[in-house]
Symmetry: C2
Amino acid sequence: MAFLVKKYGGTSVGSVERIQHVAQSLKQARDAGDDVVVVVSAMSGETNRLVAMAREVMPAVVDVRELDVLLSTGEQVTIALLTMALKELGVEARSYTGAQVRILTDNSHSKARILDIDTARIMDDIKSGRVVVVAGFQGVSEEGDITTLGRGGSDTSAVALAAALKCDECQIFTDVDGVYTTDPRVEKRARRLDRITFEEMLEMASLGSKVLQIRAVEFAGKYNVPLRVLSSFKPGDGTLITYDDEENTMEQALVSGIAFTRDEAQITVTGVADRPGTAYAILGPISDLNVEVDMIIQNIGANDTTDFTFTVHRDEYTRVIDYLKSNNDTLGATTISGDDRIAKLSIVGVGMRSHAGIASRMFRSLADAGINLRLITTSEIKISVVIDEKYIELGVRALHEEFELGADEVIES
Amino acid sequence: MAFLVKKYGGTSVGSVERIQHVAQSLKQARDAGDDVVVVVSAMSGETNRLVAMAREVMPAVVDVRELDVLLSTGEQVTIALLTMALKELGVEARSYTGAQVRILTDNSHSKARILDIDTARIMDDIKSGRVVVVAGFQGVSEEGDITTLGRGGSDTSAVALAAALKCDECQIFTDVDGVYTTDPRVEKRARRLDRITFEEMLEMASLGSKVLQIRAVEFAGKYNVPLRVLSSFKPGDGTLITYDDEENTMEQALVSGIAFTRDEAQITVTGVADRPGTAYAILGPISDLNVEVDMIIQNIGANDTTDFTFTVHRDEYTRVIDYLKSNNDTLGATTISGDDRIAKLSIVGVGMRSHAGIASRMFRSLADAGINLRLITTSEIKISVVIDEKYIELGVRALHEEFELGADEVIES
């Protein structure tokens, strides 16, 4: 008997049959005595259909106020259908749009931030034994305008509701059954984690982004809402994301997971003057180009100069390197070079904080596999290296074995 | 320079191209200096699509609260797209759902009645020079639940807004260019009426229902909102529906239009006791069967008995006659008979009030055409006869000529 928020994404409610399947699962939760608030996205494909119509009507600039009015109909359809499906099963239920709950946001249309949630109507329904079905992704501004929360907004709605309602857990149902030690497509021994900390989840972004929107994880961490990732299609306990507590630290593995990403490119600028403002001189204009920079490494070069390396998304590689070369007059670098066939490989784990020697185990393991390291960066709970892209699978498997993350049995693919 | 409500139905906004066409017309009205509130329906086909999904989820009984949440998304899509299309043309505009305007209704989901309209936000926008785009067919209850107004709801929304905003005119755009003296498919000389009174429009229901929902006409009459029916596809002044005033009575035709309907059936019960309660004994149970009765005629029979005739929709004929026959024990009728191949033919006109002899002109004209009259009923501004269905076109043309309703030129079909 718990008070839960359960969030189902577009794929989980992508057809009438799937909505009926979700209603069945919710009935089971009610029958088990749980109080449930459900948050749903638009049926998969619906948002694209609406956006396509908006583009046709308004080919140039899109009016964000009206786009929000349009897109918010997507979740409104889902809440009505899911509530009907629940009632068909004899489960008392009631639907609310974001405005009806009064999920108050600022008025930044298409990327609004939640300011406050009125819990009165929902709590009345919960006390009356109803399942409450809320439209994710949307809210209402002080002026009464419909707003949407932007990418991953439904996850954020779910976490914000769980925080406001003081729920025991916020469960995010998706098409994977939890967070894995690494990508099972690369390492068949990858194991589902029962538990992971918010910090680890954030550091595993490259794995996690397929599962949870980072913004929702941050939000859950900030308000200390236990977050659980589960599959909408197969049973199981999923992965629980919480704060690290004493009890769990005892049995904490040194390394929780191996993250990696292949879509990066590396750019190195050598022989620039080692003086204040150099980093800004290089990275400021790149930020102005609207390019996001991931890793940044600076090392001491020869003769009072410094060598500077950073990574960007592979799609931006040519644009950035061309820009730097054409502006080298002001920069004064000896060389500007790069490589767009690199990959980033990371180990993540809160256990690192209290255990020395993890880094050297990682480096030795990769050396034994014959993999050369090009760049290294470290944080409190994460060590990342950049290697040749072609060695990425080899590197993932070597580290997965080194830190004993494997399942006893190979996962069926 | 007028303050207008303009209502566009589902066909008029049935595609992105048509929405853009409506936006162009609205731009012209703005350029001419008119202040405009637009009321729109769901794009044609959208409501059926949503209802089909609801049926799939909830095959047995439909939950009307949730059905309203679902269906109201239809108009919400249209208001957003039309507002975008206006902005694309450089016309300042803003959209509102029924709840956002605060079109307050009772909580009879799927057939709610409008109680009050808050005009504050709309008037602010109008004063700022914006076109205001309002979702028809929907409102919000005191409790904050989304409601819909039922059949013809968007026409009602438009009229109610025009009344609340004290607009000069409520213009209903549709796929016909006005109200005709009779159906042009039957009489090629049928002529578009420039003007007609609310009462005549109500009595011409069988013609008018293809053009305007009766409920909206009643509403417009009650609040004295001048109502104009126009085509969304071709230019013209349409037909203005107002109260009869002195000025117009002067030039008022005796008969404004010829209405007819083919989908009726006649049932006659003879030889029932002529005593209080007889009409109820026959019609009470029929009303309990949920069958609507149109004409009711009672005449004196032989030996303290009475003969009773009424008409029902043709689809209900067998059910009603079977019911009466199986219950004749209590009724005690001599005969129960009927005919489902009849038609009703009516002349309508406020001029009848002040002119005698109209009825005899009608009857003589039909007699000259060799048409036998089975039933006759009269009201203040309408005379109806029931005839054999096969004579209906002949009867329409005879009366159209008798009362000189024809256009000089034959209308192209």
